[in-house]
Amino acid sequence: MERVKRISAIGAALGLFCGIAFLPASRLLAQKNKGNSNSAAHSGMTTDIPGALPGIHLVSPVPNGQWTLPAGDYANTRYSPLSQINAQNVQNLHLVANYSVGIPHGFEGQPLVVGSTLYMVTPYPNNLIALDLTKPGFPQKWIFEPHPDIRAVGIACCDVVNRGAVYANGKIIYNTLDAYTVAVDANTGKQVWRTQVGNIQLGETITMAPIVVKNVVLTGISGAELGVRGRLTALDVDTGKILWRAWNTGSDADVRIGSDFKPFYKKDQGKNLGITTWTPGQWKLGGGTIWGWISYDPELNLIYYGTGNPGVWNPDMRPGSNHWSITIWARNPETGMAKWAYQVVPHDAWDYDEIMENILVDMPWQGKERKLLLHPGRTGFMFVLDRETGEVLSAQKYVPVTWANSYDLKTGLPDINLDKRTHFGKYATDICPSSTGGKDFIPSAFSPQTGYIYIPAHNTCMDYEGTAVNYIAGTPYLGASVRMYPGPGGYQGELIAWDVSNQKQVWGIKDPTLPVYAGVLATGGDLVFYGTMEGWFRAVDAHTGKILWQAKTGSGIIGDPITFTGPDGKQYVAIFSGIGGWMGATAFPSVSNDDPYAGLGVVGAMKQIKGITQAGAALYVYSF
């Protein structure tokens, strides 16, 4: 408790964000006075957003020169007001630097830019590479090699990816596949501390990017398919010491639920739901892992994140709502105590993890200014929540959805289409979206200039078909065969611009053959950047969806674009290229695309990918 108090006092006194704490105070002041000035190199972050729609307020500074958090900002908008590159001149963009990391695995996540250095974490073996932005071609400054335990490779569910690092207190902090969190000195590239957060012997791995709030490093864990019990772990930013854990199943004490916990809906109220909504003991293998993104609202002092599917696939073996799987949480970042929770899907039968980004924005909602949480769900519904209370204000379908008809905003419950619920021996067809969701963890962006959220979406449906004999650890068994295929309309992916206020799509760019599996960046230049699995990196008009510029990278894109200002005062845009991940791993030579049920069923939806792109992870940087 003492430690927590001390941290909070320092945080409050400085009133700063870890991402900019390293800058000299004079420069910080200069940045504030200048507001949005593209000429100011390393201008860090800003709360000044020229051209923002009336009433739109972002709760934390957005990246304005640097990129120090995984999403750029705490609110997960992935918006930067930088506007040197804009709709008028974007066609002049060209490649100024690229760098191959020499690893044939999926390159997810995004680089960081701190001062005049760019940092990137590779897929396994999770090397951290620093590039010098002051020199032409951005040469390598150093490489840090953590040498994670190779056994983690065989355990990770879906390719050996990593979703990036965070900068805080002079350190680059990230997770390794073998479930350690490591802090590296941002200047020297030497390890400062390394802490074991999970145990690969139990099937636990980590792929997500941590965040740092007030000297507390926050990270989740992956491995629900192996019966891992999900939790959020908090570590001290300077020492790596574990401060607390908040579990997603078990007693209220384990889940860090106390007297301050006020869930909005009755279904989420009650004592020890993390035990009582399971059959006896089943919660111990309850899944509910955390492997997506964490947001933070400094005004409410709450972090937000979602949890994954419940453990034990067979829903018949876990009657009950299975709290707190597939739940959106609001917690105090220092104590870990829960403020509210909303379980999005009770008793999941479809593998709809809701670990997606939660974008925090204050804006007018039906005539009233409200504190919103935007959550484009794996379920195919675009959720708008009041982030002070957890009330669902809107849940509209943004892709073809058949598993549920709608959400009842009074009860918070989905109106489930029982024909689309799976049981052993009872098979269902045309379940939309498939288990890969209306989107996966791939992050959206929000522009305060348009009021649109830009969603990288999939359009895949699935059939649960007859049983097929299977074999694991010496035991034959029968498994449901999952076959995925393009949904209605025949296309596979779409970049969707969704008008938050009007709760509807305004434009979309369809991909006929592949899902959109790359993150999105919105900028003050009226632009939206994203990538395709074929390897095109694109700039799109944020208002109309017109493709204004595109360049082909060496492999399919599943990474997230960022923008920054170089030491030379120029604006740059950077993206990782390198096919892989759950859906993209079907491109790898080791995966046969003759078997439509392979790769947990995604091969059926991804048949064409091998003829389109090959593996090879690399960074691409564009400017004028």
């Binding site: 006896p280 299977n470 694991i472 650890a473 029968l478 080791s590 078997d595």
Partner: protein, 274 residues
């Protein structure tokens, strides 16, 4: 000059020993830690079977070790790391299978001192007993006993044991049998070969009885025919192994008996499983 002649000498030596060096390899993928099937010390019946087959075919066994988890076949056989997996159920879509060389079933395992003598999934005592079962995790599937029990409404008294167990322990799936000996559960329902072997080696006497086949409900078979698996299209090896199995059927039967594998019915060449 010296280096060139040395190189030539080495090449000559190489050709002189070629007859020894080019003994064809029987490349086998196996779990390094999963008795009674296989382990790295080659103590499992799959290891002995591989040795027998290789000897007969004039080959040398070369192992590629990989834990038998969700991605086993895509990371091993179908990634070209080996040419055969010694034990697969007939009908598995990820491999072509030989003729089966044995059939076994799921079994009830209980302490002998309990005298439970369980045979049927419809036994009313199953509604009260604590029942240990393996669970496979999130793979769109569960083991036949779980499906049979849950479809009878027997849910609250099930205790799940992750089939992956802990990698650091010996033979992770055997936790389930130990749980019976330790009275954590009253009965376990497990795959016969694993259960038979560990029941035999238990410090506490354990009873093993096959789960009766429920004819009206073939959706949930408890009996599986086991064969060797080769890559789809590798018909040459498949045929060689078929002939070998037919030749050695009696020896294979004795090998499996030595490992206390519960064997079912006549050693038919007709795939019975699913």
């Amino acid at each position: 000059m010296f280096t060139v002649s040395k190189l030539a000498a080495m090449l000559l030596m190489g050709s002189a020993t070629a007859a020894f060096a080019v003994t064809p390899l029987l490349r086998v993928c196996a779990d390094p830690n999963n008795m009674p099937f296989s382990n790295q010390a080659q103590q499992g019946f799959e290891n002995h079977l591989a040795q027998m087959v290789a000897g007969d075919l004039g080959m040398t066994v070369a192992y590629y070790w990989y834990p038998q988890r969700g991605k086993f076949f895509s990371k091993t056989l179908n990634a070209g790391k080996c040419d055969v997996v010694m034990e697969v159920p007939v009908g598995i879509p990820v491999a072509s299978t030989t003729v089966p060389y044995y059939q076994s079933s799921y079994v009830f395992v209980s302490r002998h001192d309990r005298h439970l003598n369980l045979h049927s999934m419809d036994d009313p005592r199953l509604r009260q007993l604590r029942i240990g079962v393996h669970i496979t995790g999130d793979e769109d599937s569960n083991l036949p006993p779980v499906n049979a029990l849950t479809s009878r409404g027997i849910v609250n008294n099930l205790v799940g044991y992750s089939i992956y167990g802990k990698l650091s322990e010996k033979n992770p799936p055997s936790d389930l049998i130990q749980a019976v000996a330790d009275k954590q559960v009253d009965v376990a329902i497990a795959w016969g070969p694993m259960a038979g072997y560990f029941a035999k080696h238990s410090a506490v006497p354990l009873d093993v009885t096959p789960v009766d086949v429920v004819l009206p409900n073939p959706e949930v078979p408890f009996t599986f025919a086991i064969a060797m698996g080769v890559r789809h299209g590798d018909t040459k090896l498949q045929q060689e192994l078929n002939a070998e199995i037919e030749r050695r059927r009696a020896d294979i039967h004795r090998l499996l008996e030595a490992y206390d594998v519960p064997l079912l019915g006549p050693q038919s060449t007709v795939p019975m499983g699913y």
